[in-house]
Amino acid sequence: MAEPSAAPAAAPLVSVRDLKVHFPILSGVFRRRTGAVRAVDGVSFDIAAGETLGLVGESGCGKSTTGRAMLRLVEPTAGTVRIGDDDITTAPPGHLRRLRPAMQMVFQDPQASLNPRMTVMDIIAEPLDEHTRLSRAEKRDKVLDLMDAVGLSADFAGRYPHAFSGGQRQRIGIARALALNPRFIVCDEPIAALDVSIQAQVVNLLEDLQARFGLTYLFISHDLSMVRHIADRVAVMYLGHIVEIAPRDDLFAAPLHPYTEALLSAVPEHDPAAEATRQRIILTGDVPSPARPPAGCAFSTRCPKVQPVCRTTAPATVVTAPGRAVACHLVAGPAAAGSVGAS
């Protein structure tokens, strides 16, 4: 395997190599395996300590699965994930449990991830019970601090999850993820359910914590304006592959992959006048399924710039500039490095 083609400037805390997650498709009365959903199909990237990597892409392209596989909440089919000195993919269960406090996840679906029979106090304290020896009073203080940090009133501590609005529940999940002072957090759509003001509070909070404790984030989001705000670099995923990875400003100023271009052009303006004049690239053509990915480039069925070669040969990943790589036949680069997403 070649070196990562778009490595961050500093030494990586997290490094992912050729990660694959395939879910079996079972059919017939005997539930025989008749195929596989290639949810994640060979992705590689690094995240430096203290860095935020944004991960964006179409619904169903494999973002959550990538994040979950990195923390081994789902078993990878192939590939390696290293966090610090530890190989997550091969760590035995006991070792993995000791690593857990350092790596946390904020889930996409807040309600489903909160136990309805526990109060907020207990939910946030749960990881503290499991992994620390704090006294009751210390725990209580810590929980109240965390609630304050995410903008939840201390008066709510005795309430159960159902008594909260969607946005309030998401903040409970964030407070819980922060409880053990993790080094690396996978934030899976952490702010999608929040109003913009609270989104801003939470993003500012994540940034403050990062500045104070050197936290490292994988920030999965479809909100490109927030990704642009919080991410240092951005990886764009399509059908299980990373098609482009680049420093934030470069990506937003001049996207190279046709999918990235289409994605950026689809962001609505929050102003009806500007919205009326926005130029949008509308994708047509068949939306492929990860159970039957197209031959050649994964994007070829919908790419407005598709060439004959795209339908037969998967593009190699080319480094176009320091820290920037793209997997597209139409983009020429100085060197082919073949590790970001092409299979």
Partner: protein, 339 residues
């Protein structure tokens, strides 16, 4: 679009939760109406009562702890508050479609997605199994899920977050309802698929005259699809305006603060995002004063004395504030008598 017959008319709806810590006044005398083919966008602070309002009018809040303390919900002339549980059940999922904020909990994990889409088709429209199945595959395809017929046999956990959300949308649209209530229906969707869903919704409004309530935090979506916008804060409607007026000339201090917090993909990038300082009130009683006053940059003594009623400031533009934050007059101007 907005001159069709009135489909929904909500008047003075008030919802209270009984909790151990006392009553929580989550929705306080909310009124709005909606015409056929019209799309009302609903925005507002997290916890401001958007979801509770909609759940209440669909009769979906468990009671206790919830209680509809007052108000009427007229759907095509019929009061849903008093019509009874059976009648509501016949209307829900048939003439009123709805998408909840939390797709994983509203889909049943033990049934296939296909079964859950076919259920309303068979129950309300009486389709046989084969036709329901065909229609279900069509609907899944319509919301952009590839390989639709195969995926009917999958369970919710085999779908991604955004796909589950689209399954909910497919179920809501299954019976071609007169009214669609969509609570954060696209939070888990990327912009391209979101655009596709919005396009679909536009078509349905045109072709079926479907009236829509669309709750979202995404002001870009509101700008693109809403006819009118309702802004909520602390269980009350603080501003209601045609979409262009709301963005060009917001009159309530909360709306103005909200619009100021939105970051952009295209403009300059801010180093620190703006947030509105302070926290919303706990609503342990019916608000006797303006609920936003403690966080409002323009608050004056009068704001703590009375809860300002909604009043028109321009045609079709109403605001619940004693001041008028007109763009031409940035300084607060006291223009109503109160006390």
């Amino acid at each position: 679009m907005a001159d069709g017959p009135t489909v929904l008319d909500v008047r003075d709806l008030k919802v209270v939760f009984a909790t151990r810590a006392g009553e929580i006044h989550a929705v306080n005398r909310v009124s709005f109406d909606l015409k056929a083919g019209e799309l009302l966008g609903v925005v507002g602070e997290s916890g401001s009562g958007k979801s509770v309002t909609m759940m209440a009018l669909l009769g979906l809040l468990p009671s206790p702890p919830a209680e509809i303390r007052s108000g009427q919900v007229l759907f095509e002339g019929e009061d849903l508050v008093t019509c009874g549980a059976r009648r509501l059940k016949a209307i829900r999922g048939h003439r009123i479609g709805f998408v909840f904020q939390d797709p994983m909990t509203s889909l049943n994990p033990v049934f296939t997605v296909g079964f859950q889409i076919m259920e309303p088709l068979r129950r309300h429209l009486g389709l046989d199994k084969a036709r329901a199945r065909r229609r279900a595959a069509e609907l899944l395809d319509l919301v952009g899920i590839p390989d639709a017929s195969r995926r009917l046999g999958d369970y919710p956990h085999q779908f991604s977050g955004g796909m589950r959300q689209r399954v909910m949308i497919a179920i809501a649209l299954a019976c071609e309802p007169r009214l669609l209530i969509a609570d954060e229906p696209t939070t888990a969707l990327d912009v391209t698929i979101q655009a596709q869903i919005l396009e679909l919704v536009r078509d349905l409004r045109r072709s079926l005259g479907m009236a829509i309530v669309w709750i979202t935090h995404d002001l870009g979506v509101i700008a693109g699809i809403a006819d009118r916008v309702m802004v909520m804060y602390a269980g009350q409607v603080v501003e209601m305006a045609p979409v262009r007026d709301l963005f060009a000339d917001p009159r309530h201090p909360y709306t103005r603060a909200l619009l100021a917090t939105v970051p952009s993909v295209r403009g300059p990038r801010a180093d620190k995002l703006q947030a509105i300082d302070g926290q919303p009130p706990l609503l342990l009683a019916h608000p006797a004063a303006c609920s936003f006053a403690p966080r409002c940059a323009h608050a004056a003594g009068s704001c703590a004395v009375a809860n300002p009623p909604r009043r028109p400031v321009m045609p079709a533009h109403e605001v619940a504030c004693v001041f008028d934050m007109a763009r031409a007059r940035p300084a607060p101007v006291l223009d109503v008598a109160h006390g």
